[in-house]
Symmetry: C2
Subunit: 241 residues, 2 copies
DNA sequence: ATCGTTTTTTGAATCTCATTCAGTATGCGC
DNA sequence: GCGCATACTGAATGAGATTCAAAAAACGAT
């Protein structure tokens, strides 16, 4: 019976349309002004139909954040499989985020908001689980690279687990995204290229962890070169720092 | 004319009572369930009176976050003035945050929420400004320590401004707070003592920046010792890691 | 102390959405 | 074409933030 399958496919398709509409509305009017009825209207459906997909607004937001993360996950996996040193791949994760942040800064803002107690706590358990599941490979990619580094001897565990090691670059990245997307903050402190700076700080951190080969972190040309290689070999695109 | 002054004092006092009530309600029922009418009721005032102080819920939340930051600012200033190496003082900032996070984890959750586009963008400009003003000395304390380090030669700028250097530990801290306060996340990855780990990662970062004197970051006893000294000399209290 | 004026407080009414659900339509097997 | 099941609809509901006209309190001059 193919009927049921088609139904399911249609349903999934419609869900995507809702998510796309929501994304567009957020870009247009800001997260602040997102209204459920507008999302439904934009897709020419009644609100009730929208609520067949998402039991609440928080549910929708978390679903959107999860959906948007797909691209990021894929990027991270490509970075993991990149033919580059473990160290360069760690920087590669940061480069991937840089690209993404350029392409759609709203994604990180949404992520920040949905991870807030208010939204996360109000979303249904199933959706939270789905969000975690979506992010698992992203995290795994990072852990894999750390594991590679340990195995190859480029990095010493010094008593830490892979997860514990991972916390450092992870926190650095999360923090930077939060700071960057908090409008008006960085301008005030006259920091122009936060993500470029981020590469350097991450590199300093890796040096501090004694992650071989150690780098001269003040060599800005090296970052440009790495970025160029990254866009060529990972993105097949141009990325101007 | 003392009347006007007294009015102002009373007004400010009442504002504090509203903020305290809000804080208590948040602790009790969670940020999610905070209601303006409850805050007013708890103080035996009508909602309208509450709205004389805060033009919106967002305004109240941001005011609360700002108010709660006072203690943190004072701590940071005490750390800056601590008779310790610039490096230890940087770790001291992290220790101060650790204490605060223990005492009232809600503070960081609230901060995270208010810095979200949705709240920040909906709060009135004046309140945003007040929040920034409150945080300025906090940031300044960090910048001062970095400046000390540069002057004493414990740290080399290597082409970066003080603000740019500051971004690294700042992002690390913000990121860690965000991760820690996102419930259910760390447990999943079996990280038990994130803040303790944080000290080590921060220390690694400082090593990577070549911040003298370089430390053996795997020497956990050293952190305990530092923490003990911190509680004795900065807090005059006991802090168990 | 009394009165007119100004300021503050009040809380019921209003308004804005998110959310629901009784009614309607549509699809499907017979 | 019929009857059942499933999906869709959007007006009605509900929760809670916000407003504002009326009431009360504070003030200050007489």
């Amino acid at each position: 019976m193919g009927t049921k399958e088609r139904r399911l496919r249609d349903f999934a398709e419609r869900e995507q349309r809702f998510l796309t509409a929501a994304r567009e509305l957020i870009v247009q009017d800001g997260l602040l002004n997102l209204q459920m009825s507008r999302v439904a209207e934009k897709c020419d459906y009644a609100v009730g139909t929208l609520y067949q997909h998402f039991v609440s607004k928080e549910d929708l937001l978390l679903a959107l954040a999860t959906d948007q993360s797909q691209g990021r996950v894929q990027m991270f996996e490509r970075v993991r499989d990149w033919k580059a040193s473990s160290r360069d791949r760690m920087l590669g994760f940061a480069l991937a985020d840089m690209m993404l942040a350029r392409r759609c800064p709203d994604h990180f803002r949404l992520l920040q908001f949905t991870f807030t107690e208010v939204v996360w706590g109000a979303a249904p358990e199933a959706r939270r689980q789905a969000c975690m599941d979506m992010h698992r490979p992203l995290r795994q990619a990072t852990l894999d690279v750390i594991d590679d580094a340990l195995r190859s001897g480029e990095l010493q565990a010094r008593g830490l687990s892979i997860e514990q090691i991972c916390l450092a670059p992870w926190a650095l990245a999360v923090g930077l995204h939060a700071i960057v997307h908090h409008e008006g903050l960085l301008e005030q402190y006259s920091i122009r290229e936060p993500y470029q700076l981020m590469l350097r700080h991450l590199s300093d951190l890796l040096n501090g962890m004694d992650w071989k080969p150690l780098a001269d972190t003040s060599d800005t040309a090296a970052y440009d070169e790495l970025a160029a290689r990254f866009s060529r070999e990972v993105m097949n695109e141009d990325l101007d720092l």
